[in-house]
């Protein structure tokens, strides 16, 4: 689905079969960062300034969720008419961090519950320059036995 489509922001995630968020990991203390961090490690006990680029876990647990009932201001580009979308905060077990993102279209807050296993996917959102939209990461509830 992602053929020829551009990401909404460069360098934030991979596309393809198994998309993943791109973060950095401090080579000394091992702390993860999303988005990527340049410069200095933010662990107060670490003086390192070298990071490796890493793909973050593609799955996690739903920490909390909400939705956007009103059209956000620019630079968000909304479809007309505006369709509310759900937003998820997902806890990544390995990285011990919570990452936000929209929930895939078609899934509303009434279908969500804290603790649900969630998977990272890529979908399009509208864009001013690209008629087909641009790619963005989204969270999708993992169905029973699905999402290998």
């Amino acid at each position: 689905m992602s053929d020829g489509l551009k990401p909404v922001i460069e360098g934030f995630f991979t596309t393809g079969e198994k998309p993943a968020l791109l973060g950095s990991r401090c080579v000394k203390c091992g702390t993860f960062y999303f988005p990527k961090l340049e410069g200095f490690c933010r662990n107060p006990d670490c003086d390192c300034s070298q990071f490796e680029s890493v793909e973050l876990s593609r799955t996690g647990t739903l920490w909390s969720f909400t939705n956007a009932c009103y059209k956000p201001p620019e630079p968000y580009v909304a479809a007309e008419p505006f369709e509310p979308y759900a937003i998820a905060a997902v806890e990544l077990d390995k990285e011990k961090m919570i990452v936000l993102g929209q929930v895939v279209s078609g899934v509303g807050v009434e279908q969500l519950k804290a603790g649900l296993p969630m998977e990272l996917v890529v979908e399009t959102i509208p864009d001013l320059a690209e008629p087909e939209g641009k790619l963005v990461w989204k969270w999708k509830p993992m169905t029973e036995g699905g999402a290998a």
Partner: protein
């Protein structure tokens, strides 16, 4: 040696959407505070202003701007900016000056004029700016408050009715407050009928931005004694601690929390009052009244637990039992809170202290908390700024 200072004057310009210059609100608040203290403007030796970022250069140098508007009289000056905690930082600067013996009496002052409509990031394609990034992917300000609110529902069983109860309580508190912007006794039905903004929060669960101005006259205990105000409320603690890595809650404008793989996850909100209690040498059981930053209704419940007024998860029960109403065991936001004021950033933390000053003096009229002896404030803003101030008499 005492670490306390006295509050001998408090003043506020009413909150609203007046559309006038922020300087006018500040001067009116300062004059009210001076009259309340019974001292002359020329007696003030130090002006500690809280900056506003939305009113051009005069706002960046707010301390001097107010000093000039009140009439240059040679006082020393300072301006603090710390987002929502700017007012507390200004108070802390005044306290430091007084406790160092470099000034006897100081004016602490903040005011703001807010633009109409929603705040949006600056234009252009700016992927290096986290604020631009989160708006580009559809994460707005209410998102964060709604995530915290929904988390309460999921783990503690709070309901949307509980959040509405906070609004109804604060509306009832602020109804008779002449400084409040919204003075209407809202019902549960009113809240339920307001539009959903970010599930589970409705329009009436989230606070607006306002114009307003607040001022305090603070002084050394010696000075207070000398002018016959030995019993004035005292500032017993000002906590302005920053978060501790790894910060556990996702904060505006970030898309992710710190990673807690090598350091334990920490709560910033809980750290603020912890330091204040330690500094004041008292505990949550001593508190008679609290003014907390209810940017959303649900956030008031989080603050109650962060202030240790109850165990984690018990705030809604306290609310339902009426404990946080005026007349209850531990009234929260007797002023009406941000629900009735809307937020005037550099003035808000000072306004919280104004309310506690009046409460501790027993001058709050219909919203008086009987026998209030110890009051605590709490607020939190962007980029690791927050504050908690304890007043006692």
């Amino acid at each position: 040696m005492t670490q306390e200072i006295a509050i001998i004057g408090a003043g506020m310009h009413p909150w609203g959407k007046w559309g006038r210059k922020f300087v006018e609100y500040g001067v009116e608040a300062a004059r009210e505070a001076l009259a309340d203290a019974g001292i002359s403007w020329r007696d003030v030796q130090f002006v500690s202003g809280a900056a506003t970022m939305r009113c051009g250069y005069p706002g960046y140098v707010a301390g001097a701007t107010f000093a000039q508007a009140l009439g240059w009289q040679g006082a020393e000056v300072n301006t603090s900016y710390a987002a929502c905690a700017s007012g507390s930082q200004a108070l802390a600067a005044a306290r430091a000056k007084i406790l160092a013996g470099q000034a006897d009496v100081a004016l602490v002052i903040g005011a703001d004029t807010t633009p109409k409509g929603f705040l949006a990031p600056a234009k252009g394609e700016r992927p290096d700016d986290p604020d631009w990034v989160r708006f580009r992917v559809g994460i707005t300000n209410p998102t964060y408050f709604a995530l915290y609110a929904r988390r309460r529902m999921e783990i503690y069983g709070d309901t949307q009715e509980d959040f509405a109860r906070v609004k109804v309580k604060n509306a009832a508190h602020g109804f008779t407050n002449p400084k409040a912007r919204y003075r209407k006794q809202f019902t549960m039905e009113d809240v339920a009928a307001s539009a959903m903004v970010a599930d589970p929060l409705r329009l009436m669960d989230v606070c607006a931005t306002s114009d307003g101005g607040a001022a305090l006259i603070v002084c050394s205990l010696d000075y207070a004694r000398k002018i016959g105000k030995a019993n004035a409320p005292r500032v017993a603690a000002i906590s302005t601690v920053t978060p501790t890595f790894a910060s556990a809650v996702v904060e505006m404008p970030d898309l992710a929390t710190d990673s807690a793989v090598v350091a334990d996850a920490q709560s910033f909100r809980a750290a603020l009052p912890r330091k204040a209690y330690e500094e004041a040498g008292i505990g949550p059981e001593d508190v008679s009244v609290a003014e907390v930053y209810d940017l959303s209704t649900a956030l008031e419940l989080d603050w109650m637990e962060d202030l240790q007024l109850c165990a984690r998860g018990d705030a809604a029960k306290l609310l339902r039992d009426g404990a946080t109403r005026i007349g209850g065991r531990i009234p929260v936001n007797p002023s009406g809170g941000l629900a009735c004021f809307g937020e005037a950033v550099p003035a808000q933390a000072i306004a919280q202290v104004c309310e506690l000053t009046w409460q501790l003096r027993g001058q709050s009229g219909e919203r008086q908390v009987e026998g209030a002896k110890v009051g605590i404030t709490a607020n939190q803003g962007l980029f690791g700024h927050g504050s908690s101030v304890i007043l006692k008499r």
